[in-house]
Amino acid sequence: MLETFNFRVILEYMPLFLSCFFATLWLSGAGLIGSFVMGIIACGMRIGRFKLLSRIAYVYIESIRSTPLLVQLFFFYFGLPSLGLRMSEASTGILALTLNSGAYMAEIIRAGVQSIPHGQVEAAVSSGLNYFQRMRCVILPQAIGVTLPPMLGQAIVLVKDSALLSLISLPELTRAGQIMTSERFMPAEGFLTSAVFYLVIYYFLKWLTHWSQRRLIYMQT
């Protein structure tokens, strides 16, 4: 296999891979921001005082966590048009990534918020801070230290999950491998090149996780 490994074709396809690499970065970046916002909203609803909102957030989180992303993606991709909603592939993909990752983000944030001693909340209440102020000034700043490492872990998962968007024919890294496979029939070169690009992102995020953990320990001492 290796003697037939064709680096020249990889070079020839490099522009495609690079543009797809940035597409992957863009899609997962948008998904990450979206899921962060979604996670904060869902977590706020889940631990808030309103029973109904808490119930809704619970159903959302558990149903997302119990079904595969691919099924959710197809659900939106094939389902929204039958409701008369036409969306581009990119927005459908980002929507699915946001909703999927948002449920996990909500759980991560909840674990972070609940890791804060109850006395902190009581002190904030007795200082006269309202719910929003408590979250903004007391709980969230402390929770970030606990939640940052698992959030970066979720970012790694999100980048890998964005590979599934190739199945609704979005041009991203895995799709680039598929295109190369179908045009030249070189699956080895195509998919291994995609894998290398994914590994670049993975090792960067892994390094970021280690770095942030070192920084946080430094800040705590």
Binding site: R65, P68, V71, A163, S166, A188, F191
Partner: protein, 224 residues
């Protein structure tokens, strides 16, 4: 209109159950094999071997850093190039087994390392050999740390098994994809598929949560 489609969907329900059976077969086989391999790798990874440990670590990193979809494409398309013809089903089982082994290996290694070193030293001085130490002292204690994330990992792997539909294994996701070509009601069809996954995964998630609570009860009591 909806009534007609629902009736159609009920008619193709056996088709979906067949797909569900395929999903259970793929993930069941892979989880079984992956658990065995993952425990072996995890024991090696928690040991002090100088050669096997970094090798497994690097392999786990590569598998964790690339999407499962890419892995399954590589296995499905690359094995024929080196002369091994693979059907879609064995390719899917191999890919998912490997993925399972890599994640379970990390969980098991963390569990073993959570057992205090004094336990191992005590076991050594009692005259237990390596296997006996592992079997009677280390493993039973590490299970407390291993079990809850292990069950959670099973859920993730069962969900990941939906990706094997991309190489044509007729699992329940694939059945949904085929059905939606005939019944153009994505919400209904994939709603049904989602319900089928939910029925399997939701109880497992609850089990994982309950295990976590139970195991941590003993742990905090022991600490006090």
């Amino acid at each position: 209109m909806w009534g007609f489609y629902i009736e159609q969907l009920i008619h193709s329900l056996p088709f979906f159950l067949k797909g569900l059976w395929m999903t259970i077969a793929v993930s069941g086989l892979s989880l079984l094999a992956g658990t065995v391999i993952g425990f072996i790798w995890g024991i090696v990874r928690a040991s002090r071997s100088r050669f096997a440990k970094p090798l497994i670590g690097a392999w786990v990193d590569v598998i964790r850093g690339t999407p499962f979809l890419v892995q399954i494409f590589i296995i499905f398309f690359l094995f024929p190039e080196i002369g091994i013809q693979l059907e879609a089903f064995p390719a899917a089982v191999i890919a998912l087994t490997n993925l399972a082994a890599c994640f379970i290996c990390e969980i098991v290694a963390a569990g073993i390392l959570s057992v205090p070193l004094g336990q191992k030293e005590a076991a050594t001085s009692t005259g237990l050999n390596w296997f006996q130490q592992l079997r009677y002292v280390i493993m039973p204690q590490s299970m407390r740390v291993v079990l809850p994330p292990l069950v959670g990992q099973y859920v993730l792997l069962i969900k990941d098994s939906s990706v094997v539909s991309a190489i044509g294994v007729s699992d329940v996701t694939r059945v949904g994809w085929l059905t939606v070509q005939r019944i153009p009601q994505g919400l209904l069809v994939f709603g049904l598929v989602a319900v089928l996954y939910f029925v399997i995964c939701y109880p497992l998630i609850q089990l994982s949560n309950r295990l976590e609570k139970r195991m941590s009860v003993g742990y905090t009591r022991g600490k006090e």
